[in-house]
C-alpha cells in the first residue's frame, strides 16, 4: 500500500522552523525599536520568510538526487559568485561579502555552505572506497571556495564549511583512522591560525580569543562579550518582557538584530525563552537526524549529516558566544538573525532534508 506523501512528511520540523523564524521577526522588531535606520528590517524579514517558505516547499518537492547530478554545475556557479564578490562586491564593516542586486544584497557565502554540502556528499558517495586520494580531492575542492570566503574576510562561514566537511568525512571515510589523521591535521592548522598572524588579521584573532579572558579589555575587544553576557544574564528566569530589555534597547549590545539576536531572547524572554528556542532548534536538528536515518542512499545520508552539522554548529557558536563560552566569530543564528540570504539558505536546507525524509517510503517503479 502506498501511503500518501503527507503522512511521511516531517510536519514537526516545518512547524518548528516557521515558529523560530516568526519569533525572530518579533525579536528583530524589538531590537530595532530605537534605530530609525533599521525600522524596516522586521517587515523585510517577514518577506524573506515568505519567500523562504516557498523555497522550502519547492526544495521539499525536488528529488534530492537531482542535486547529486547538478553538483558540478553548482560548484562552478558558486566559484563564479564568490569570485564576483572579490572583484565587485560591496563592503561593509571592513568586509567584502555582498553583491548588489538592485534594492537588495546577495551574500554568496550563505548558499556556498549548502552547495558545498551537496558537492562533498556527491564526491564521497561516488567513490566505492574512500581513501587518501579521494580525501585529498574532496578537501582540495572545498579549500578553494573556503579560502575565498576566508579572504572576504568571513571567518565564521569558513568555519561552518569546515564543520560540514568534517561531518561528511566522518561518515564517508572507509577506515575510521583516516578521519583521525584528518582531525589531527585540522587541529594543527587551527593552532597555527589562532596562534599566529599568518592566516587571520589581528582584529579577528583578538575577537576570537577575547572570550578566554573577557575582562582584559572591557572597553575594547571584551565589550561585546561582556555586554551581551550582561544582557542574557540579566533576563533571569522570566526576562524583562518584550521591548523592555535595557541592554538591547539602549544599544549596549551591538548588532542586536543580526549576530547578537540571541541577547534579545535572553534579556527580554529570559531563561524560559532561551529554553523554548533551543527546544524548537532541537526539533529541527533531530528532524534532520531522522532524515539521515531515513535516507535511502549514501548521498542523501551524507548530505543530511552535513546539514545537521551546519545547523548545530551555527546554533552552538552563536548562542555560545553571547554567553561567553564560544569565540565571537560573527555567524548568524539560523532563521532568527536578520538577513535574507541566510534565511533563504536555512529554509532551503530544511526543504532538502524534508525531501530526503519524504523519500523514505517512496516506491520506485
Amino acid at each position: 500500500m502506498e501511503r500518501p506523501w503527507y503522512t511521511s512528511f516531517n510536519w514537526a520540523m516545518v512547524a518548528a522552523a516557521v515558529l523560530v523564524s516568526l519569533f525572530g521577526v518579533l525579536c528583530i522588531h524589538s531590537a530595532d525599536l530605537h534605530d530609525p535606520d533599521a525600522s524596516g528590517e522586521w517587515r523585510k524579514q517577514l518577506i524573506y520568510i515568505g519567500i523562504g517558505i516557498a523555497v522550502m516547499s519547492t526544495f521539499a518537492a525536488i528529488d534530492y538526487h537531482k542535486w547529486q547530478r547538478w553538483a558540478f554545475g553548482l560548484y562552478i556557479a558558486n566559484l563564479l559568485l564568490l569570485g564576483l564578490v572579490m572583484v565587485g562586491g560591496r563592503s561593509a564593516l571592513g568586509a567584502q561579502r555582498w553583491i548588489n542586486l538592485g534594492p537588495v544584497q546577495f551574500q554568496p557565502s550563505e548558499p556556498a555552505k549548502l552547495i558545498l554540502a551537496i558537492c562533498i556528499a556527491a564526491l564521497v558517495a561516488r567513490a566505492t572506497t574512500f581513501g587518501w586520494r579521494e580525501m585529498g580531492v574532496t578537501i582540495g575542492a572545498v579549500a578553494v571556495p573556503a579560502l575565498l570566503i576566508l579572504k572576504q574576510p568571513d571567518l565564521g562561514t569558513s568555519l561552518v564549511i569546515v564543520a560540514i566537511l568534517s561531518a561528511e568525512l566522518f561518515f564517508g571515510v572507509t577506515r575510521a583512522w583516516y578521519f583521525g589523521i584528518y582531525a589531527a591535521a585540522l587541529g594543527a592548522i587551527g593552532a597555527v591560525v589562532v596562534g599566529t598572524n599568518l592566516v587571520l588579521r589581528p582584529f579577528q584573532r583578538n575577537r576570537l580569543l577575547v572570550f578566554l579572558h573577557p575582562d582584559a579589555d572591557p572597553q575594547g575587544a571584551g565589550w561585546n562579550l561582556n555586554q551581551s553576557q550582561i544582557a542574557v544574564g540579566s533576563g533571569e528566569l522570566f526576562g524583562k518582557g518584550l521591548y523592555r530589555g535595557t541592554q538591547t534597547q539602549l544599544d549596549f549590545v551591538p548588532e542586536h538584530s543580526r549576530d547578537f539576536i540571541n541577547t534579545v531572547v535572553g534579556e527580554e524572554f529570559g531563561y524560559l525563552g532561551e529554553i523554548g528556542l533551543l527546544a524548537l532548534y532541537a526539533v529541527i536538528i533531530f528532524g534532520a537526524v531522522r532524515a539521515m536515518l531515513a535516507a535511502r542512499d549514501r548521498f542523501g545520508f551524507l548530505l543530511a549529516a552535513g546539514l545537521v552539522a551546519m545547523l548545530a554548529f551555527h546554533i552552538t557558536i552563536n548562542v555560545g558566544m553571547t554567553v561567553g563560552i564560544m569565540p565571537i566569530t560573527g555567524i548568524p543564528l539560523p532563521l532568527m538573525s536578520y538577513g535574507g540570504t541566510a534565511v533563504l539558505t536555512d529554509f532551503a536546507a530544511i526543504g532538502i532534508m524534508l525531501n530526503i525524509h519524504l523519500q523514505r517510503d517512496r516506491l520506485v517503479f
Binding site: 544574564g233 540579566s234 535595557t246 536538528i285 545537521v308 548562542v319
Partner: protein
Amino acid sequence: MRTVAEAPRPFPRGTWRLVAFVLIVAIALGALIGRLTQVQLLQGARFAAAARANQIRRIPVAAPRGRIYDRNGVVIVRSRPSFVCAMIPSDVRDSAATMHELASVLAVPEAKLWHRLLHHHGVDYKNFDEVAVYEPYGPIVLASDLTATQMARLAESIDRLPGLDLEAQPVRDYPYRKLGSHFVGYVGAIAEDEFKELKGKGYTQNDVIGKEGLEQQYDRSLRGVPGGEQIEVNAAGQLVRRLGPLEPVPGDSLVLAVDWRIQQLAEKALREQVLATSKLRGHPVAGAVVAIDPRDGGIVALASYPNFDPNDFTNGISEKRYAQYLNDPLRPLYDRAIGAATPTGSTFKMVTGSGAISSGVIGKNQVLYDSGAWNCHGHTFVDIASGGLGSTDFERALAASSDGYFYQLGYRLGHARLRHYAEEYGLGRTLGIDVPGEYPGNWPTNAWSMKVYGLPLEPSDVCQLAIGQGAMQATPLQMASVTATVVNGGTLFRPHLVEAIRDPRGRIVRRFDRDVIRHVGVTQEALREVRAGMDQVTKPWGTAYGEDVPGIAYGGKTGTAETDGGNGPNTTWFVAYAPSAHPTIALAVFMERSGGYGATTAAPVARAIIAGYFHKKLPQ
C-alpha cells in the same frame, strides 16, 4: 500491475559513528543549556544589577550638612547656600570657547577657571578631554560664591554656554570663625586615600567630608544623604531620559554639652592672657582651657590658642594660607586642650593627697614638718617655693602648695601606690573624648624608663612625681577631668562634647548619656580634705591669694612645671571648680612655656571665666 518496491541499495551507515555524531550534537546543545542556567539563573541577579548600573547615572547634589548647636540652642556651625557655576563636561560643545566666554562673563581670569577644571578632588587632568572621559557628568565647580552681578550676567549668557549650570550648593559656614575651631574641626573635599577607605560606605568622589574635630568624628551623622538627578544613558553615554531628581536628605544636627557663652568667655580670657603674657615675656606663648561639668563629664568649653578659621578650608584652602598655618611655630592647627601633655606641677597634688589619705599613709589633716627640703631615698629635694612652712596640716599644705609636705607623701606612698592612683584618675591613658587627636600623656613605669633611658626608675623619682614633676605628663583635658572627679565624689566620667543627635525635623535620634569610666578608689573623706585645701587657695596663705572672685567662693590649685630641666620658661597650670559648695564647673587652664607661676599666669584666666560664668564683676 503493481511492481514490488525496489529495495534501497544497502550502504554502510556505521552505527558507532552515528551514535558518536548524535552524541556530539546533543552535548553541544546540553552545554548551551548548562551555561544559560549558570548565567541566567545562578548569576542572573548579578548581571541584572550590572545592567541597571550600565544605564543609570546620577548627577550628585550635595546634602546640606547638619548644624551644630550648643547646649542652649545657639547655632555654632551651619550650612549656607553658595551660588556656583558648575560644568557638566559631556554637554559642553567647544571647551576652549566655553571657558573663554565664561571668563569674560564672570570677569575672572581664564587661567583660574582652567585651574579649577583640571585640578580638583586631588586629581590632575591634562586637558578637558580627560576630564570629560573620567567625569562626564561632573558637576565640576568652576567658580563658587558668585556675587549678585556675576549671577545676573551668567544667567543671561547661560543659554549660549551648553554644559554650564548655575546652581546653589550648600557650603559649610562657621559664623564664629576661630571660636571653638579645634573641637569643631573643618570640612574639605574628600582626598584620594580617604575615598579609597570610605568607598564602600556610601561616599563618592565628589563628597565633602569632615577633616578634624566634630566634623570628622560625626561625619556619618552630619553629612546626610546626597541627592541628585538620575538620568538614563545609552552605551555612548548620551542622555536618553531624565528619571527625576532625588532630593538630598539634610544631615543630622549635633547638640553639644558646650555652653557657647562660656566658650566665648574662655576663648576671650585665654586669648587676652596669652597675648599679655607674650608681650610681657617677649616670646610667643600658647595655651588651652578645658571646662567640664563635674556632674556628667560634659565639656562646657574647650579652647586652644592660637587657633584657626575653619572657613578657610571650606572652598579648598589656598596654598599660602595653609603654609601660614603650617609654618607658624605655635602650630595653630594643633589642639592643645586634648593633645598637649606636660608635667602638671602641683595641680597633681590633688592625686597625691587624696591617694595618701585614702591609703592611710597619713591620717586626716595629718601634721608633718616641712623643713623646705626632703631627703628622698638619698636625694635631697628642695621646695620650689623657697623656705619651709614648718609644721603644717594637710589642708594648709595643699593650699600653700608645700613641696616638702608632698615629697613626704610620695615617699610614704612609693611608686606602685602613686602610680595606682594616677591611673585610677585616668592619667597615662586617653579618656575617650568624642573628637580625634586626644593624647594619652604618660605615667612613667619601670618598663618605660628602661626603654627611654635604659635604666629603671630611681626610688627617689617618686617624690618628684608626687608634686607633678619628672617624667609624668598629662593634658589639660585630663587635669580638668581629675578636678571634676575630685569635686563630684570620685566618679571619673568619659568627657563628651555631644549630648544628642537630632534629625533634620528636630527629633532626637540618639542621646549620649553620661558615661562612667570608673569610680576612683579614694575615700570621700580624702576628697573632702583635698577640696578643703583647694578652697583655701585664694586665702592669704594660699598660692593664689588675691585671685578671688567677689561673691563666689571657688576652689583651685596652682601648678608650675619646669621645662628644659629648669632652664626653659615654666609651663603654668591652674585647676579650679566653682562654686565651692556644689560645683557645676571644673576647669583646667594650661599656659605653655608662659614663664611665671600658675598663680600669676594661669589663675587669672580661670578667675575671669568663673566671674563671667556666675555673672560677677571683677574689680579692675
